[in-house]
Amino acid sequence: MSATAWTATASGARARGRHTWLGVFTAALGGLTAFAFCLHVGGGVTATLNMNSQPAAAIPLVVLPVRLTCAVLAAVSAAAGAAILRRQGGRGTYGLLTLGLVAFTLAFVIWAARGTEVSFEGLLASTLIDSIPLMFGALSGVMCERSGVINIAIEGQFLGGAFLGAMIGSLTGDLWLGMVAGAAGGAALGGLLAVLCLRYQADQIIVGIVIVTFATGVTSFLDLQVLTPNQATLNSPQVFGNIAVPVLDRIPLLGPILFDQNIFLYLALALLATIQVGLFHTRWGLRVRAVGEHPRAADTVGISVLFIRYRNVILGGAIGGLGGAALSIGSTGEFTSDMSAGLGFVALAAMIFGRWSPLWAATACLLFGFADSLQSNLAVLNVPIASPFLLMAPYIAVILAVAGLVGRVRPPGADGQPYRRE
């Protein structure tokens, strides 16, 4: 009893220290905004935000005076920081922190676009496109880990799915078959993970890394030996075109971004909704979570732990494979070796940042997608930052998010632990 009380006090003190730190950080962002973006800009300089995807302007251009806007945004950040410091905890801390960060980022973009025009619509659109494969990857992770199996192998599932998707899509000339093949490729790698982790109870982290290495090697090898000599027949699939949702795609700004997109975006959103509702509002989800949190208890009431884990890991693998297919037949129209380029690990980070919740993980994917989209837009705007530093932006966002903002997260109780009956 007393031990519990002591722990509570200690964590309370930690939390208070944390809130002070976050408050100071947010307020400092405001100061930085004022100092870096407002002071050096002349009074008459404006920035133009273009909200249209087509040259024919449906929404008038937004012209903002840079200095005034920056000053307002700096004040917003500073006020958010002060509010965090005053409240010392409570529920609104992360909301205020987000507000401060958003104000800072907006000020940065507006400062970068001073004297010129930036496509705000383009910034948001490429955020979404960037985050599609990440969403599949993060959902794959959620599926596995909620049932108690660590899935480090998302990167491998991406590669397997991208490879098979491109090859089958090209061979048969049917993109839908390619999509199914991509999912099957991911599911096969998920099955390998499941067998090694569940049947043979191997260390799940090591198995995950081995599967990534295995998938990288096998797909590169086959790319060189099989695809490259037969590029025209085996590696020239078509690409899924955009599908406009009638009426909804006419919504100003958000319409073209959300409703005139690739099938993979709709699929990702549908999966997201299904898994979110499924996990928290259905019997299936209850069982999955029970198995992931306390398998013994689940077993006691007659749930087959192994069956649920096998099913989830293989399904998760299939979702990862779809993410891979999104990279090849949903985007560039061919497989190239190592084309996922580490996105699987970013998806993993998004899942942890999202605290193993589908919705929050998808939000984290959007954040990482935004960081990537922001860096290419800033580069086009000719910001005086060397390109290697700009290119780091998504990864810095990952590190800050996972290490700094999330702090202590709690994975599913039995995550990574093999289950055996007594």
């Binding site: 290495t213 030996q225 690409v239 560039t332 580069a379 086009v380 632990q417």
Partner: protein
Amino acid sequence: MERPLARQTADRDTAPRPRRRLRRGPGLRWVVAGAILAVVASACGAARPAASVAAAKVLPRSGSFLGCMVTDTGGIDDRSFNASSWQGMLAAHAADHAIAVKYLQSTSASDYVPNITAFERQHCGIIVTVGFLMATATLSAAKADHTQKFATVDYTYPQMSNLLGIHYQTDQDAFLGGYLAAAMSKSGVVGTFGGIDIPTVTIYMTGFVAGVRYYDLHNHAHVKVLGWTPSKSNPLNGTGLFTGSFTSQADGRIDATTLMHDGADIIFPVAGSVGLGAAAAIKAAGPPNYMEWVDTDGCISAPQYCSIFITSVTKGIVASVKAAVLAAAHGTFRGGNYNGTLANNGVGLSPFHDFANKIPQSVQRELQVLRAGIIRGTISVNPNRYPAG
């Protein structure tokens, strides 16, 4: 923090398990053996045997002279400078069947030195390394062994008897590419992006910018270039848009999309196979969005996108690599540097293919005049000579 803890408990729980599992049947042994085999095979496949298998398939090892090539991370099939270099090797073999050729792929920068060393052990008559990034590794290998001949595509070296730098003045043909892009742009905005911010990439972008600025100056136009702003002091430096690799096509797609959102309708990616991602985005966006391919004639190396390639800004890697290998095989190899220019046909625009009839005759004539002017030295390809639009 949490995971290792969880793992410890897991290990403790299951410590006695593996023996029982093993006794249960041969399953685990087979899975482990299979996995090890697959990993070994695939790890090798990525680098070594694949290379020799591919080379052996094409060419008998009957030759008395062995020409060897190490690719950059873009790989042998990047439709760009690695692919062209390998074609140069094959062309040398075709010209003289006594020359056998083979290659090794670098999957990361850490493969450069091991690959070069592997070839040194195989007594290659010449080792061709492809790409600026491999220059340091090649230079130290050449210094360590003065009898081993080396050539590097895309680099200029200090004078050494066993080392040939093959360098291209690609700002000259990129200037023509920039002029053409500006002339063809409907939106008045053109764009470029690079793979990695290194001189062999930025020299293209700088020439492209110079061409656009020259077009603006002489046609009273205001075409803007996005994606690269050369610095005033050294035009090969500057700030701009880069994907950060020569491998991630998804990034190429995003960068092209960003440029199109900002109004660019003609895009010049300088990023090897990453440009294919841009091509996918531009093809999906449809006319009047087009692009220019880089290094090789895109209509030959990536024919599926020929309909969107206005032209390609090429460098004659095939010819110069072939010449270097033949010289080494025939004892006429001399160290130093080769500089490909418009004058010696080391660089140039490719034929216009599908666009031969779409590019106005007047523009095609102007390009001829510009080319002659650059060769004579009367037209500068330095963007800082022209006012920035």
